[in-house]
């Protein structure tokens, strides 16, 4: 019996070793023959958030192979990193998630000497609340949340978050399928802060969402593109850049910035702690901040660029768009998500479960 066990353990060990060995060889032989191998960089970004041809461009310029993966929410990205399920060199989370990751010591300080293009970043976006000394992050894109609606399917022009709760649009409303964004819509409508930790306010917002549930067609994330473009839903809350992409397909769509105010988000490039290819990651971040690449990405995704030179490069129709590059007055109405304390996060999950389990 002991012998069998010993044999078992040895085999397991051998198998483990051979697996690691395999891992090593794959990365070694990954580069195309002929080009000198400069290693690789593992990038983890939001879905539909880049002009993918710039990745090949990066490899062509530097010889560094890009392994590109996507996620669909900050929370799922956090889960993957926390689980150590994969090792990434560059991740692009949003503001509040970056401050959470900084607090939990999950990010590597950047060497800005390797990222000279950082100087092109809009000074207004430097040293943000989520990274006050700007040690860990370089902004990638930013934008505003609003209501996207189909002009042929609504009877009056929406001006407020109230539209999302209007019974006459029953079965036509698309709502966020994640707790932070969905509760955010309700909190803003009720006149509360996105970052409230007041249990009563959060519960009130959930109660509102439970009342709204029968009106909701479905809870979506990126599925909203398909549903708004095809006209199968009339109203949904999503980002201005995405609205521009959707309106390209379906010209009946329009965008409303609710009068109660809205969410301003910044997604920024960071390097997770323990990244194996830190120098390559910094080269990649610098590359993403170059004018040509930044312009290509904006023209693909239509989000707002933090790069000053890109703004000059863009068509005035885009760069003077008041929703893409809002003025001070508009910005004053916007609020960003901040990281919430653990007990509030747990409350969010509990309230979200309560909403999803509510039957009506």
């Amino acid at each position: 019996m002991k012998k069998t066990l010993a044999l078992l353990l040895t085999t397991a060990l051998a198998l483990g070793l051979s697996l690691t060995a395999c891992g090593g060889t794959t990365s070694g032989t990954a580069s195309t023959p002929g080009t000198e191998s400069k290693g690789e960089v593992n990038v983890y970004n939001w879905g539909v958030y880049i002009d993918e041809s710039v990745l090949d461009e990066f490899t062509a310029q530097t010889g560094i192979k890009v392994n590109y993966d996507t996620f669909e929410s900050n929370e799922s990205m956090y889960g993957v990193l926390k689980n150590d399920g994969a090792s990434y060199d560059v991740v692009i989370p949003s503001d509040y998630m970056i401050s959470r990751m900084i607090e939990e010591d999950m990010l590597e300080p950047l060497d800005f000497a390797n990222i000279p293009n950082f100087s092109d970043i809009d000074p207004a976006l430097k040293n943000p609340d989520y990274d006050p000394e700007n040690l860990y992050s370089v902004p990638y894109m930013w934008g505003l949340l609003g209501i996207i609606y189909n002009t042929t399917l609504v009877s009056e022009t929406p001006t407020s978050w109230a539209t999302m709760f209007d019974a006459q649009y029953s079965g036509q409303i698309l709502m966020f399928n994640n707790s932070r964004d969905a509760l955010g819509v309700a909190l803003k409508y009720l006149g509360y802060s996105y970052n409230t930790t007041d249990e009563a306010q959060i519960k009130e917002a959930t109660d509102l969402l439970i009342k709204q549930k029968p009106l909701v067609q479905s809870y979506v994330m990126d599925e909203i593109f398909e549903k708004m473009q095809s006209g199968s839903a009339a109203i949904g809350a999503y980002y201005y850049g995405d609205y521009l992409t959707m309106a390209d397909v379906n010209p009946d769509l329009a965008f409303c910035l609710p009068e109660e105010g809205t969410n301003l988000y910044v997604d920024a490039m960071c390097i997770p702690k323990g990244a194996e290819n830190k120098a390559n990651a910094e080269a990649f971040i610098n590359f993403m901040c170059s004018t040509a690449v930044g312009t290509a990405n904006v023209e693909e995704t239509w989000y707002s660029s933090p790069l000053l030179s890109v703004r000059e490069e863009l068509d005035p129709e885009v760069s003077e768009d008041p929703y893409a590059y809002p003025d001070e007055e508009l910005l004053a109405k916007c609020e960003s998500f901040k990281n919430l304390p653990q007990e509030t996060l747990t409350l969010y999950d509990g309230e979200w479960t309560r909403l999803k389990l509510a039957s009506n």
Partner: protein, 282 residues
């Protein structure tokens, strides 16, 4: 001894990828975030009862529908010529060569209010006909984002797992047994009821296992076909890992409770099967 040596790779595989994860789930389920041993992950389980109930109800319905469709199909197929059987099996297996998510996305665009099915029904004038007769104002059949759509997704995706085991069991029934029954004067109904059906039960039981377990733990279906309006167990567990609070301990505890319930269900079912023939499906 030689047989034992051959089993080693399999044992190692099982140890690494079945036993070890299972042990990890148990460890996670009984510990708290700070690492201490706790039962708190289980004591709050009551609030998730609706998710458990809902998942089991949908999975039972989907499994029953799979039996109703799968059994007759497997039965009649076993009577066909070899050629027909091969083609039919190919067609049953064919959708499984495609990714599960892709197939589900296809259903999304089929079932949509503006989807292919409704467009087709509209173009042949069905809605006008109904509206003409009943004076209604119907423009589409509302199919997507309903419980029915979730069940449809389960049936569509897991039906092959019902047909296959039933078919292979019926196919192996010795024709002499059936002839003997007929010689003894049994008519077709009696032959089926007294001979074929009891002999095919092991296939039904393994079919039920193979449909029920993935159905009860499925997670993408309720979001894609059900519009995310219901929370099934799979979604609840996923939320613990990919949600705000990131609580793998609670997620593991829910997964463990689900496993225990499924195990009990299967054990009870096997008890039923044992009367007929000593089958062990698990």
């Amino acid at each position: 001894m030689r047989n034992r040596a051959l089993a080693i790779p399999y044992v190692v595989w099982m140890a690494l990828f079945v036993i070890a994860p299972l042990i990890l789930i148990v460890i996670y389920a009984f510990t708290a975030k700070d690492g201490g041993v706790t039962l708190s992950n289980f004591s709050n389980m009551g609030q998730y009862f609706p998710a458990f109930r809902h998942s089991f109800v949908l999975a039972v319905i989907a499994t029953l529908i799979c039996i109703l469709i799968g059994y007759p199909l497997a039965y009649f197929l076993s009577k066909e010529s070899v050629m027909v059987r091969k083609v039919a099996m190919m067609l049953i297996m064919l959708p499984m060569w495609m990714n599960f998510l892709l197939r589900t996305y296809a259903w999304m665009s089929l079932l949509d209010d503006n989807g292919l099915i409704n467009q087709f029904l509209g173009s042949i004038g069905l809605f006008d006909l109904i509206n003409g007769i009943f004076g209604t104002n119907l423009t589409c059949f509302h199919m997507i984002n309903t419980q029915g759509a979730i069940i449809l997704g389960m049936v569509y995706n897991f039906l092959p797992f019902m047909i296959m085991p039933i078919f292979s069991v019926i196919d192996k029934i010795d024709p002499k047994v059936i002839e003997a029954a007929q010689d003894l004067g049994a008519n077709n109904t009696m032959v089926f009821r007294k001979v074929i059906f009891p002999l095919s039960l092991p296939g039904v039981l393994s079919g039920v296992t193979m449909v029920f377990i993935p159905s009860v733990s499925t997670f993408a279906l309720s979001r894609l076909l059900g519009g995310g309006k219901t929370l099934l167990l799979g979604d609840l567990i996923e939320m613990q890992f990919l949600g705000n609070a990131y609580n793998p301990h609670l997620g593991s505890a829910i997964a463990l409770v689900m496993m225990v319930i499924v195990l009990v269900c299967m054990a009870i079912m096997n008890r039923f099967g044992e009367g007929e023939e000593g089958v062990a499906v698990l």
